[in-house]
Subunit: 231 residues, 2 copies
Amino acid sequence: MAEKYNIDQYERPSVTVDVVIFTLLDEDPKVLLIKRKAWPYQDNWAIPGGFVHIDESLEAAAYRELAEETNVTREQLYLEQLYTFGEPNRDPRTRVITVSYFSLVSADKLSPKAADDAADVGWFSVYNLPPLAFDHAEIINYALIRLRYKLEYTAIGFELLPEQFTLRELQDAYEIVLGTKLDKGNFRSKLRKSNVVEMVEGYRDTGGRPARLYRFREDAVAEVKTRRLFP
Amino acid sequence: MAEKYNIDQYERPSVTVDVVIFTLLDEDPKVLLIKRKAWPYQDNWAIPGGFVHIDESLEAAAYRELAEETNVTREQLYLEQLYTFGEPNRDPRTRVITVSYFSLVSADKLSPKAADDAADVGWFSVYNLPPLAFDHAEIINYALIRLRYKLEYTAIGFELLPEQFTLRELQDAYEIVLGTKLDKGNFRSKLRKSNVVEMVEGYRDTGGRPARLYRFREDAVAEVKTRRLFP
DNA sequence: ACAAAAGTGTTGAGAGTACACCCATGC
DNA sequence: GCATGGGTGTACTCTCAACACTTTTGT
């Protein structure tokens, strides 16, 4: 039936999904990488990914890849489509078009397995990446730009933190991702006005005065109002 | 060789590109649509698109589709990737994943052919679209959100205008796309500060005092500085 | 008492907003 | 002159950014 409508007059490419998974660990944004075991790029590191099954949505394929490499459920992470890379020779085997995804996981949700397993999977600082397979360096770079960008105009930063956090921890997360220092007073007053966090019971012990714990207000996501920048 | 590495253990989907082409005409944002001549969705309207050839980049495919439906060259339009839609049943023939693109063309560049040809191609107001094939309504909706969004934080609005334009025409373009009225004085002073337009020789005759002509300063694109909105 | 980190307040500069006013052309 | 649309200026408000200050804990 398909032939009748000429849908097969063109050779079909392979389609994969690749997922850039970010977390914050030890003062740096980190990306999950996997060591390839087969040609091409054998023994190079790569971001998790694989072929899209014929009856599976792109998003389902991305969640499947995520589940294979981390023990984090759908509800515990943020996922969005990033960009589709399809240069004809990005894979030496055949034409492969990859739909890349962008994911955020908080470090506390990571199971020990994925976090410190053997030598074939690991978290790498975005500032110190090993040689990467295919065009994965470009994909990670694109994802990092997107991460910084989203942090600045949405309330997405919370996806990188535990359920409960102190304001200092939130500010640290912002500073790590953006790579700049922020003013404590201004950070807090702006946060108070935006109304996206609420105080919860309890304190976290620190070196000095204990810090109040906060959580993200679920109903507040849409409230981050955008303002026209231009003109 | 491919089989040896299991790249063909999965059935391959078809991959298309679809292009949402915007222009401004008669007080509304308009989208270019084409009437389908074959099953499925025969006689429904659709955005221009087609299969990606096996040795062709995605972007090249998008430009090819653009060239087939408008007589506008690469330099005369803006093109960027929008989103990849791949729900398993979006096309009744077979699994088709489409990489959608987003394009802006100024109305003055459109050739008469595409602009007022026969009944099988035409410009439709985004506020009054006919029934559309596949998930193209969703794609156009997504593109319209992107258009508004980009207008607010980049200098992309110029892609919808001729080389030379008056400030009133620029403001009209913004008001049409954003769907809101803007203050003339504030629009102009902000524009002056941003330094992205420059005055050129000549005037445009209007009902009253003739208006100065301006053009976009090519070297100014990157200057639109972003400011952190959150927190 | 002192160090350390949490948390708040103040102030001047600059941006956003609403609105009034002046300018150049056609009739 | 007057209508029409182009173009500018002002004054009030609000936000931004830097920085100083106060509070609560541990030792």
